[in-house]
């Protein structure tokens, strides 16, 4: 953390600086501080005739939620102005998508907001399916498994939010609990997709693969465990006076502010508006599920925390309904010109192509071989046009604007990531508050920089 007297402090030199030693630069006096030298900075700043201190927090700081840079202008302990510096995790995913075929796109989008992989994949696939005009032919089983994975993902994302938010307050027990339960969910992902993160499991037209045998039983076990564990967060935090003192009335953003700044998700619902795309603009058959949309009327970080806790319980309900409804069937559209031809099977070397499939294309069906070859090397064509598909990710409205020029590659894909939009409201939440409350406010937005910067 460095505290320059001007917005742009110079980076520390080659040698590690002495604690809070002032350096004269062309932009004013710059103090580079780490850990516990805060008192020294305040003392040196008090000595200086200039009242205005600009604190540059991040981009490498344990409590800024990833590579987020916060530029705070402070007066004593009060934040008078707050700005975000973003872009440190920009990887050009949207540009890269334009150079891969439509199916390969899921491999990229799953890495955007890496905590909500299944939502990214679903938003992208719903957009592509809309362009193809095959929304209605996606098999029910595929849609149900998508919903199931998304709701598990909502749980794991909220758990990380609560865990890291607690850690940033110094409540490390919540952190341990949150990551313990998330780990259980990641085990379920691993069972289903083979990977803990970055799955690329949901594909245009359906899924990469069906559930493995025994998955439903394990998922029911998982639900049982989570049902037992979730009340622990209530016991630990909800009524905890220290926790409440840190969270209540912090990060205030009312409904007017939310609407103006485009904030969605728990931030909007903490202002009392029960807006949830699963209800207001249902996709993937959410209108047939039984669940509640929790709200709070406190407009603060504590309200958002309670909403996340309740949403996790509601997600468990949806997962349970998914498991009850699952019936055997295909998980990919029947159209052989779109459906990815090979199903994976367990080979002697771990994962591999299904031997039955290889026997079919190499020995029996010339047409199947042609389809396989064309789809894998060239990909399918998508009729020219544009579509917008939005899903309710744990952070808010995640929208995918997908444009095709009739080719085998996306012409343009743009993601409206909720973290990006919600992070804009950081200034409105923090200005006029205490420095320590900035951490709470940012944690209550739950930005993930992979999604913000893409």
């Amino acid at each position: 953390m460095s505290a320059p007297h001007a917005p742009q402090g110079e980076a520390p030199g080659d040698t590690f600086p002495e604690d809070a030693t002032p350096r004269e630069t062309t932009e004013g006096t710059v103090y580079t501080v780490t850990g516990g030298d805060w008192d020294e900075v305040v003392q040196s700043a008090a000595k200086a005739d200039d009242e205005r201190i600009v604190v540059n927090m991040g981009p490498q700081h344990p409590s800024t939620h990833g590579v987020l840079r916060l530029i705070l202008e402070i007066d004593g302990e009060t934040v008078t102005e707050a700005r975000c510096g973003i872009g440190y995790l920009h990887t050009g995913i949207e540009k890269n998508l334009e150079f891969r075929n439509w199916t390969q796109g899921t491999t990229f989008v799953t890495r955007m907001d890496y905590l909500t992989s299944f939502f990214n994949e679903t938003a992208y696939c719903l957009g592509v399916e809309k362009l193809l005009g095959i929304e209605d032919t996606v098999p029910d089983r595929a849609t149900l498994i998508r919903v199931l994975l998304m709701e598990l993902n909502r749980l794991s994302s909220h758990l990380v939010c609560i865990a890291t938010g607690g850690m940033e307050l110094g409540a490390t027990t919540i952190m341990i609990y949150g990551f313990r339960d998330r780990e259980l969910i990641l085990d379920a992902y691993e069972l289903i997709t083979g990977l803990r993160m970055n799955h690329a499991f949901i594909r245009p037209g359906g899924l990469a693969q069906d559930l493995p045998p025994g998955a439903t039983d394990q998922l029911r076990e998982l639900l049982k465990t989570l049902r037992r564990n979730l009340p622990e967060y209530d016991k630990l935090a909800t009524g905890n006076p220290i926790f409440k003192a840190r969270m209540q009335d912090v990060g205030h953003l009312d409904l007017t502010g939310c609407m103006a700044l485009g904030a969605t998700g728990p931030v909007l619902r903490s202002a009392g508006l029960p807006h949830d795309l699963r209800r207001s603009d249902p996709y993937c058959g959410y209108e047939t599920f039984d669940f509640d949309v929790p709200t709070a009327d406190t407009c603060d970080a504590y309200g958002r925390f309670l909403i996340r806790l309740e949403e996790m319980r509601q997600s468990l309900r949806i997962v349970e309904q998914c498991l009850d409804r699952l019936e055997p069937g295909p998980v990919m559209v029947a159209d052989k010109k779109i459906a990815w031809p090979a199903q994976l099977a367990l080979g002697p070397d771990g994962l591999g192509n299904s031997l039955d499939h290889i026997k079919n294309i190499m020995g029996t069906s010339m047409e199947a071989l042609i389809h396989h070859f064309k789809l894998v090397t060239e990909g399918f064509r998508v009729p020219a046009g544009q579509a917008y598909a939005a899903v309710e990710s744990p952070k808010g409205e995640l929208g995918a604007h997908v444009v095709s020029d009739g080719g085998t590659r996306p012409y343009r894909v743009h993601f409206r990531d909720p973290s990006f939009t919600n992070l804009q409201s950081m200034a409105a939440m923090c200005e006029g508050g205490q420095v320590a409350d900035v951490i709470v406010a940012v944690a209550s937005i739950d930005p993930v920089m992979g999604g913000v910067d893409r």
Binding site: G87, H90, K95, G262, Q386, Y388, G399, D405, G406
Partner: protein, 240 residues
Amino acid sequence: MSDEQRPGDGVPVPRDDTGEPIRVQKGMFGAKNGADTSGYGGLVRTVTLPGATPRPYGGPGGSFDEIADELEGALEEQGLPPGSAIEKTVVDRGELTFHVAREHLLQVARTLRDDPALRFELCTGVSGVHYPGDEGRELHAVYHLRSLTHGRLIRVEVSAPDADRHVPSLVPVYPTNDWHERETYDFFGLIFDGHPALTRILMPDDWQGFPQRKDYPLGGIAVEYKGAQIPAPDQRRSYS
């Protein structure tokens, strides 16, 4: 194969001439250096996006007609002929798009937000698209507006020529567009007039060029894999 293709057969449905041509594709299989022996080298295909849709627009419960009527009526009340503000209305894949002339964008957006029958309170940001082949309308800014009151979603699209890359900023109407417009400027060079601080947001401040434009290369290096050279992604064969 017959010309009558079901949508979803993986082959573009032939469209009539009313579409908006964005590109002319020549040849196939990405052979561009004269070594095309496929017989498809002479293929010329105009790529068009869906064009203006005649009434009725339909939509769920006829809501698209309702929205268009309300918008046109409200604009007329303000003394702005709808024909000059709304260049065309497109209904495609169950989505309603208004192509708006950029000089009237601010007024149209304000009407969409404030008119009680429209009430599109939430803007989900800007997405830029670069169509180098669409002469005079190379750069598009696409806005998706959501009405929580009525549960509707529409798309508003404006275009600007590459030679004059200016579009009015919607920040006065939708403050949420602040970062979104900076992002579109950052990647496409579209200048949003009236934006409070239009600077780069994701790329470094001193970056040259606008990376999401089609004339900006992806970059990358060839990689050796099992003895073969795999070219960089933007050098690989393209079937588009």
